[in-house]
């Protein structure tokens, strides 16, 4: 349902999400985020170009790591959201709390400025 691929270069990690995150698969996203926190990642770029759907269970995973990331000095930017997924972030107001970029290049700029 969701395939998550992680690539790390030093303190930078790219997480690529492909598929759908719902109440049955959000645990996979949770595990990946927990691993990022434990692995000492300082810049986390989440590629959502292949993310077709995310329910509140998946959004809740992103939200639940904002505070631990802040305390550990981890910067996170998610990018490449399709219109449907971006709309969900806007309806809930998550675009005010989570850094969102349009594409990888933009994400790189945003994370360097964060």
């Amino acid at each position: 349902m969701i395939a998550i691929n992680s690539k790390t270069e030093g303190l930078i990690e790219w997480l690529t999400l492909v598929g759908e995150v719902d109440a049955s698969s959000s645990i996979e996203l949770d595990k990946a985020m927990e691993a990022s926190l434990k692995n000492g990642t300082k810049k986390l770029l989440v590629n959502c170009e292949g993310l077709e759907y995310i329910s509140s269970a998946g959004l809740g995973v992103f939200m639940s790591y904002l505070e631990p990331f802040r305390k550990s000095g981890v910067r996170m930017v998610i990018y490449g959201l399709n219109d449907k997924v971006m709309n969900v972030f806007s309806i809930l107001g998550l675009d005010e709390l989570i850094k969102i970029a349009t594409n990888q290049e933009d994400a790189q700029t945003v994370i360097d400025q964060a």
Binding site: D22, G60, V61, S64, D83, L92
Partner: protein
């Protein structure tokens, strides 16, 4: 006697989280001829997914031996009425207060946004319990589609 313009779809499914995808496909297929905007359709599908996930997890404790039903009635060019019917623990919407996102963030809470989304997307949301049967009734008006 049903109204001539009323189209009805229903789907009965067990209370297991891995059924959520099937339900989303059922809702998508039921809506595609009536909600042309892909974004609007996606919002409605997610709202139904949120109600079904809550019902499976909180009302029925993910018991696959229990079933629930999703009924969709489309009154063409007017409104879509969704009824999600189960026999688990009922929910009282009157006690619901929309959580503050900053509170959820500070408390590292993963839950709390599903119903918030449902209430923001749907035009009417009601939960009723009668004769041990819970009905979540959601209305989405089609004006301006």
């Amino acid at each position: 006697m049903p109204k001539p313009s009323l189209i009805k779809h229903s789907y009965k499914v067990s209370c297991a989280k891995d059924k959520l995808r099937e339900i989303r496909i059922f809702v998508e297929n039921s809506l595609k001829d009536h909600v042309p905007s892909e974004v609007d359709r996606a919002n409605i599908i997610m709202a139904i997914d949120e109600v079904c996930a809550n019902l499976i997890i909180h009302s029925n404790n993910c018991d696959p031996d229990k079933n629930f039903e999703v009924i969709i009635e489309v009154e063409k060019d007017k409104e879509i009425i969704f009824q999600i019917v189960d026999q688990g623990v009922g929910f009282n919407l009157e006690r619901y207060r929309e959580p503050d996102l900053k509170y959820l963030m500070a408390e590292q809470r993963k839950g709390g946004m599903g119903l918030m989304f449902v209430v923001r997307v749907m035009d009417d949301v009601k939960f009723t319990t009668r004769s041990k049967k819970n009905i979540c009734r959601l209305v989405k008006r089609l004006n301006g589609q």
